[in-house]
Amino acid sequence: MLKALFHILIFPGLSFLFVFGFFAEYVDRKLYARLQNRIGPPWFQPLADFIKLISKQEIIPEEADNNVFKLMPLLALAASSVAILYIPISGERSVFSFNGDVIVVLYLLTIPTFAYFLGGWYSRSVYSMIGAVRSLTQLFAYEVPLFLCILASAMLADTWSLSGIAAFYNQHIGYWFCNIIGFVVALICLLGKLEKVPFDIPEAETEIVAGSFTEYNGRLLAFIRMSFNVEMVVGASLLAAVFLPFGLNLAPAGVLICYLIQVLIIIVAISFLRTLFARLRLDQMINFCWKYLAPLAFLQVLFNLTLKVVLPR
């Protein structure tokens, strides 16, 4: 019982996720700023922003559905935080694990997007509603390639558990390279999930102010921002666990450092990508996902199915 509480509250649960989430946000913002020739924020800026927002007065629009409006940010934060418990981060084994947890994690990561949709929709502001519809439309575009890529990796490992995948690739360390297409596609999909440029269509500032989050402020906005940070960490961890099976044989401290480095590499890659591009239009984004990402993901699935027959186990 105590152990479970420790896992949920301290590591790899809420405390760890919050600290690492702040750090990830700092890395992302600082790097983004440096790449744009700006100085960027100091290390404590994400925490300072969080405290400022928490201490602000909360304003809820009269028209909005009070309960849904308040509940959704918490739901988003909770869903993405739970997912970390099923992802192996310190070694081959995650905290909780069963055959089929890949599916659970993927769906847990989908819940925040639905939460943003509902929160936006029930804010009853035109900007929020358009943003909400956009985030849902976008979901249908990136979710399929993302799922296919991760499932392709799972197929090769012949297991539906994330711990099992990690263990398999740890034993056959060279096989990770077979999933390289899948990794790249999944990384791009992660940009869509995190609503970052070029896929920040649901919160496109110059079009619809802040999309779903236009009416959010104070504590609730702090939770939304936190849930984005946590999503970023969890998303990166998922990619690291599935596609980058390195350093799992080291001492426990070494494993953790290795994991942190892998996650940071993915976050750095995200920052680089969002510096490079202009925001796409919704129709262009959907086109891109279905024309290029989905076929590539299918290719990965077919490739892995073939490999499964050919390669020695």
Binding site: N37, I208, T275, L280, Q284
Partner: protein
Amino acid sequence: MHDVHDFEDVKIPIGPQHPALKEPESFLISLRGEKITASSVRLGYNHRGIEKACEERTYTQGLYLIERICGICSHSHSTCFVQAVEEIAGIEITARAKYLRTLIGELERIHSHLLWLGVAGHEIGFDTLLMYTWRDREVVMDLLATLTGNRVNYGINTVGGVRRDISHKQKEEVLKAIDILEERTKYYIDLAKGETTLIKRLQGVGVLSHEDAEKLDAVGPTARASGIERDVRKDDPYAAYGELDFKVISVNSCDVYGRTLVRLGELMESFSLVRQVIRKIPDGSILVKSARKVPAGEAVSRYEAPRGEDLHYVRANGTEKPDRVKVRAPTLANIQSVSKMLEDRYLADMPIVIAAIDPCFSCTDRLVAVRDTKNKGSNTVVWETIRLQGIEWYKNKGIDFTSLNEKLTKLS
């Protein structure tokens, strides 16, 4: 300019305050899904009554007021106005003054176009471009500050010439800065021609056909991107443009991408113009003495501002003050084509389409009408009242500048 009466569609207000607009103007857009089905525009939020104010000021006072119509194309407005006054008064300014006006005008164009490029980047979510171009824009801003003393509102024009001369050292500084800027602009041209997401977002967006552009009297880069080769600097040369060599940049793509290329091309032309001015600038005085009173008469003056043709009409009645000053800023001519450009486009294209005419609503609207919510109706407030109210407001908040002001007056 039609009201939107379709109830099936979602209507979204863009403005008067909106992140896509840098100044207050209101667009009402009707959406079906992501598609724009109708749009209407309401102007006038920035009307400050400058035309009326000019009638109560002398020509010289009016000149500095006119300069404050807009922060970005301030030199355009002041030159345009002063040209009209000089024409009525029959003053022929010296060649050196003409070259200096051209120099500042071209530097202003460079800073305005770089600014636009950054704003355009921001509107399509390409913030990196915004940060890069605005960093480079600092170079030309600093240059303008060394030449005129100000980063904006240069105050270099006066009736009968210019107020500041250029030294040999400054000429070298200008050339050095232009070299840096030219290299950077070449990089942006490469970027505009090679960056896929940028091209995807700009090509085929905000189409204004050649015929529509002519019919709606579009001006400046907006018209030139629709294949209309019209440039006041060429067609009706003023200042030193008649003696300088430059091309009018025009493309036939009729879209936002074309407008980007036109502005980038114009930047390159401006660099060459600045170099020519520095090379050719004749010696001599910069100012011709002029009487305070201007004889009765009228004149229309035109100036190619960075955003297009700027037109000022001045009527003099023989006193120190003008009888009528009319300002037609380029944005007013272009704003009418925006509804056309938005037809059948996506919501996501709206910011860049509006931005692509490089709107400057301060120029467009020119009375302070402060709405008094307590006593129904409007109330015109004079500047001094607003200033005192502001001081009082800050005092109530515990911020008091009285002691600081006293110190300042002692210093000066």
